[in-house]
């Protein structure tokens, strides 16, 4: 709540009187002038006011914070903005998912290996082992060694486990094929994005005389510094209340414009039509 003595950052920048019902005042305090400056540069004060007026008062703070984040991303990266960050995160997620899939495959091999080889010692070996082994070191260390009496039962169990493992492997192979197709497409997009980032850095270096940050996430704003992923996760987590329940439509939604990024050189009509479908 601002008084006429201390205008909010928005009213200060616009050099106008800050009234008691100023829509910006609760979210753009006077001690954070850069926040509103960024938002004003990218979106414009009137557009921001329109967006805030359409929302419930409860939602406005999150909306302002997300607008500030988006504005800063766009100012840091005038070409890709938030889309660049999304692209990098998608690539990172795919890499981790591939590693996870490989790790699960390896874990499944352990289970199948133990089921196929139930006896670890030759038959008839056990009595001598019990006689000769040091009793103080025997019990808890040795694994279960099935005797001849329950060999048949263990063979049935082995067959059932093998069948289950085979089904699991088939499902995993199908999933892997789908993932590989998605990964290949994403890698192509990322390669195109990386090439354009390099061009952009050259452009910025040419224009400003200094190198831009290596990673697109280097945003220095309160709570939205993405240099540290943990900090970013913690900072953005209050906003992690997105309306996207199912990640796959989101990825599809995000992927569509990035498909456009690849053929953009010289071709504009076709991708723009597809993006238009999103905007509807």
């Amino acid at each position: 709540m601002s008084s006429s003595n201390s205008p909010c950052a928005a009213c200060k920048l616009q050099r106008r009187k800050c009234t008691q019902d100023c829509v910006f005042a609760p979210y753009f305090p006077a001690d954070q002038p850069q926040k509103f400056a960024n938002v004003h540069n990218v979106f414009g004060a009137s557009n921001v006011a329109k967006i805030l007026n359409e929302l419930n008062p409860v939602q406005r703070e999150d909306a302002v914070n997300s607008l500030a984040y988006e504005a800063e991303a766009r100012l840091s990266d005038p070409v890709y903005g938030c889309v660049g960050i999304i692209s990098i995160l998608q690539y990172k997620l795919k890499q981790i998912q591939i590693s996870l899939y490989n790790a699960k495959q390896e874990l499944a091999r352990f289970s199948s290996g133990q089921a196929i080889h139930p006896t670890l010692y030759p038959p008839g070996f056990i009595p001598k082992l019990q006689h000769l082994d040091n009793p103080s070191s025997s019990s808890s260390v040795l694994p279960y060694i099935p005797t001849g009496a329950d060999t048949h039962g263990s063979q049935l169990a082995i067959r059932e486990t093998q069948r289950q493992l085979h089904q699991q492997q088939q499902q995993q192979q199908q999933h892997m094929l789908q993932m590989q197709q998605q990964i290949f497409e994403e890698q192509k997009m990322v390669a195109a994005v990386a090439a354009r980032e390099q061009q952009e850095r050259e452009f910025v270096r040419f224009n400003t005389g200094f190198d831009p940050p290596a990673t697109l996430g280097s945003i220095n704003t309160n709570g939205y510094n993405q240099r540290n992923d943990d900090a970013a996760a913690a900072a953005v987590s209050p906003l992690a209340l997105g309306t996207f329940e199912n990640p796959y439509p989101i990825q599809t939604q995000v992927a569509e414009p990035q498909h456009h990024l690849q053929p953009q050189q010289g071709q504009q009509s076709q991708p723009q039509q597809q993006v238009g479908k999103q905007g509807g």
Binding site: F43, G44, S46, N47, I51, E54, L55, Q59, D62, A63, S66, L67, Y69, E70, P78, V79, Y80, G81, C82, V83, I86, L89, Q90, K92, L93, I96, S99, L100, K104, E106, F110, L120, F125, K128, L132, D133, V141, R196, F203, D229, A233, V236, S237, A240, G242, F244, P247, I250, V254, P257, Q265, Q268, S269, Q272, Q273, V275, G276, Q278, G279, G280
Partner: protein, 170 residues
């Protein structure tokens, strides 16, 4: 480059579309919705300003990204594309923790396997030693059958003969 028809931006703004219109290449009249979102969120002057700051070969990409961000914001006025970012971050954290957990299980199984292999080798050695023990003569392993376990058998025969006179015992 001349524009016989107005671009979506100039149509929306109800103005003449000049030959050097900055927005025309990226907002064709065939897709009015695309520019409508961008106009609502960024505004015409901000969009033009941002595109003018970029070299020509990067403007198309930038226009696409702005269009995507604008449409995300129209669909989700509270979080926009930042909602996608936060959800991706959550998914990454979740996948990473599952990966760490799975790798821990693999390490556990690896350690178990190594331990079993070591025990197998030890037992094989013991078994080999036990087998060698079974191959020796039986009377050597039982002291009750041989009263003179350390004496050569020939010496015993000679002694027994010497205690008899031509085979007769005294």
């Amino acid at each position: 480059m001349s524009h016989s028809t107005r671009c979506a931006a100039c149509k929306s703004l109800r103005r003449r579309c000049p030959k050097d219109c900055v927005l025309a290449p990226y907002f064709p009249p065939t897709n009015p919705q695309r520019y409508a979102c961008v106009h609502k969120i960024f505004g015409a002057s901000n969009t033009t300003k941002m595109l003018e700051q970029l070299p020509l070969h990067l403007r198309a990409v930038a226009a696409d990204c702005m269009s995507f961000e604008a449409s995300s914001r129209v669909e989700d006025p509270v979080y926009g594309s930042v909602g996608i970012i936060s959800q991706l971050q959550e998914q990454i954290i979740e996948a990473q923790s599952e990966l760490v957990k799975t790798k821990g299980e693999i390490a556990f199984h690896n350690a178990q396997q190594q331990l079993q292999q070591q025990q197998m080798q030890q037992l094989q050695m013991i078994h080999a030693v036990a087998q060698e023990g079974e191959d020796q003569p039986s009377w050597l392993s039982s002291s009750q059958q041989d009263p003179f376990p350390n004496v050569n058998q020939q010496i015993l025969e000679d002694y027994n003969y010497s205690n008899t006179f031509c085979g007769f015992e005294f």
